[in-house]
Symmetry: none
Amino acid sequence: MEEALGGQLSRTVLVRIRSALPSLRPSERAIAELVLADPSRAAMMSIADLAEQGGTSTTSVVRFYKKVGYSGYSDLRLDLARETARESLANNVPAGVYEDINTSDSLRDIVSKIAFNETMSIADTAQVLDVDKLAQAVEAISTSRKTDIFGVGAGGLVGEDLQQKLHRIGLTSFSWSDPHAALASAALLDGDGVAVAVSHSGTTMDTVDFLLAAKAAGATTIAVTNHADSALGRTADIVLSTAARETPFRSGAMGSRIAQMMVVDCLFVGVAQRSYDASVSALKKTHAAVQSRKLA
Amino acid sequence: MEEALGGQLSRTVLVRIRSALPSLRPSERAIAELVLADPSRAAMMSIADLAEQGGTSTTSVVRFYKKVGYSGYSDLRLDLARETARESLANNVPAGVYEDINTSDSLRDIVSKIAFNETMSIADTAQVLDVDKLAQAVEAISTSRKTDIFGVGAGGLVGEDLQQKLHRIGLTSFSWSDPHAALASAALLDGDGVAVAVSHSGTTMDTVDFLLAAKAAGATTIAVTNHADSALGRTADIVLSTAARETPFRSGAMGSRIAQMMVVDCLFVGVAQRSYDASVSALKKTHAAVQSRKLA
DNA sequence: GCGGTTGGGTAAATTATTTACATGGGCCGA
DNA sequence: TCGGCCCATGTAAATAATTTACCCAACCGC
C-alpha cells in the first residue's frame, strides 16, 4: 500500500481490485463488485453515487480504494477510465482494413481503410528511414548554395512542398515540374549544389535524367523513393527510403505520397533545426507576412 | 457541440481543444496549450494546479473547459485519461513526442515526433470526419459538370492533388493557385458546379472570397478546414473537418497538410467507387499512359 | 455481562468545483 | 483627450466533493 505515487504507474486496476477482494469487508466488497461489474460506469460516478448504489456510505468507499492501494479517489477514477479505454480500443480493431477497397465498402469503411493505410505508411517509413542518410541529406541541403527539386505527378507535389518549406526558412531552392527546365537548372549546379528527386518507383526516366545531369555537374544528389535499388536509387548519392503501402486503389498513390511527405518533413525540420534561431525567426516573418490576408 | 451527454461519447478531446483554440481568449489558450503539451499530466491535475501552472485563475480554467464543450471538470479529466491511454497503447509512444521540436533533439527524435504527430493527425481526422457530409461531397463532385478547387500555400498543393486525382478518373476539375483566376472560374459555375476550398485556419480571405463567388453563382460549396466555425466553414454548404496536430514547428503546417490529404483521398476514393468500373478502367489507362516514360 | 475488537456510519473538516460579481485596460466615438 | 463601453480576467463567495475524526452497535471470548 506504500506505492502511493499517484497510482498512475499501477498495472491494471481491475486485477488489483479482484485480488484484494477476499480481504475486503462486506460493505467494501459491495463497492468492489459494483466497480468490477461496470468499470467505465464507475469511473463516472462520485463517491456518493457509488456509496448509494452499493447501499453503503462514502466512508466505506474511501476505505475500499485505500485498501486497493490508491491514495485518492480521483486516482482510482482515472485508472478506471484509462483501463476501460484501453480495452474498448482492443476490441475495436476494424475488420478488413488490410484489404483493398471494393464496391461493397461503405464510406465509413473507406475512411478506415485509408486512415489505416496511411498511418501504416508513416509508421513503416519512420522505421525504415536511415537516420545517417537523413543526416547526410540535411547537411548537404543546409550548406547548399542552391537546391533543385524534381518529381513528376504526385512526386512533383511533394517536391513543391519541400521547396515551399525550404524557401520559408530562407534557403534558395527550386521545384521544377517541367523536365526540360529541371534539366537546365540541374546542369548549372556545381559542387555547392544539391538535387533532390522524388519518385515512388524510382523508374521515371525524366527523374533519373534529372539526377544524372545534376551528378554530372558535380552536385550532391538525393533520392526519395520506395525502391532504393531502382535506377534512381542507384544513381543518387543519398537515398532516403519510403515504405509506403500501396494497396488500396493502387494508382491513387496515396500511401506513397504520404510517406514521401513525411520524409520531406523530416528533412525540413532537420535543416531548420541546424540553424534554429534563424529558422524560427524566418518562420515568424513568413507567418506574419500572410497574416494581412487573413480575417479576424 | 451538441453532444454534451456527460462527455463519454465525445470523440477525441484533444481534437476538440485544438479546434477551439482560435476562439479561446489568451488566458484560456494558455490552459489549452498546457493540456495539449502533456494531456496525461493534465489529467492528473486539479483545476487549481492547472490555473497555477498556466499563470492564470481557476475561473479561466472553467471557462476553458466549458468552451471546449464539457459541463464539468471531471468529464474533461476522464476523457483526457481515456484518450492518452488509447494513444499510448496505439503506438507505445516514446517519451516527449508531444513536445515541440527543440534544439536538443536528435534526428531520431525528430523522426519520431513527426511520425507520431502525423499519424495522430490522420487518426484524429478519421474519427472526426463526418461520413454524411463526406457522402454529400462525394455526391456533389460525382454529379458535377465542373469542379473548381482553390487553396493557398500548403492548401494549394492539396488542391492540386485532388485535381490530379479527379482528372485521372475522367472528371473535369481545375485547381487554381492564382486568386483572380480562381474567382473568375468560380463566377462561371452554375448549379451543376462544385467549388472546393482548402484552408487549415479557414480565415484566408482569398479562399473565403472564392467560395462566396462560387456560392453566388449557384454552385455547391465544399470546405476542407480544421475550423468548422471559421468564416470559410460558415460559408460552405458542406464542411469536411480535419483534426490536425500542429505542435511541432508550427508554421511547417505538417499535420494540417497530411490531414487535408487524407480527407482528399477519402473524397477521391468515394467518388471513384461510385462509378467503380469506369474509374478502374480510367485509372488503368492513365497508368498505362505514363509507362512509356518509365524504365524497365 | 463485560472489555475489547471489528465493521460500519454520521457528521465535521478540508479541499475542490462552480458561480456571481468586480476590476481594469483598451478601443471608439465625440 | 475624454468618457463610456466592452472584453478579458480575476477575487471571493457558494456549493459540492473528498477525506478525516469520531462514534455506535454487534459480536466474541471469557
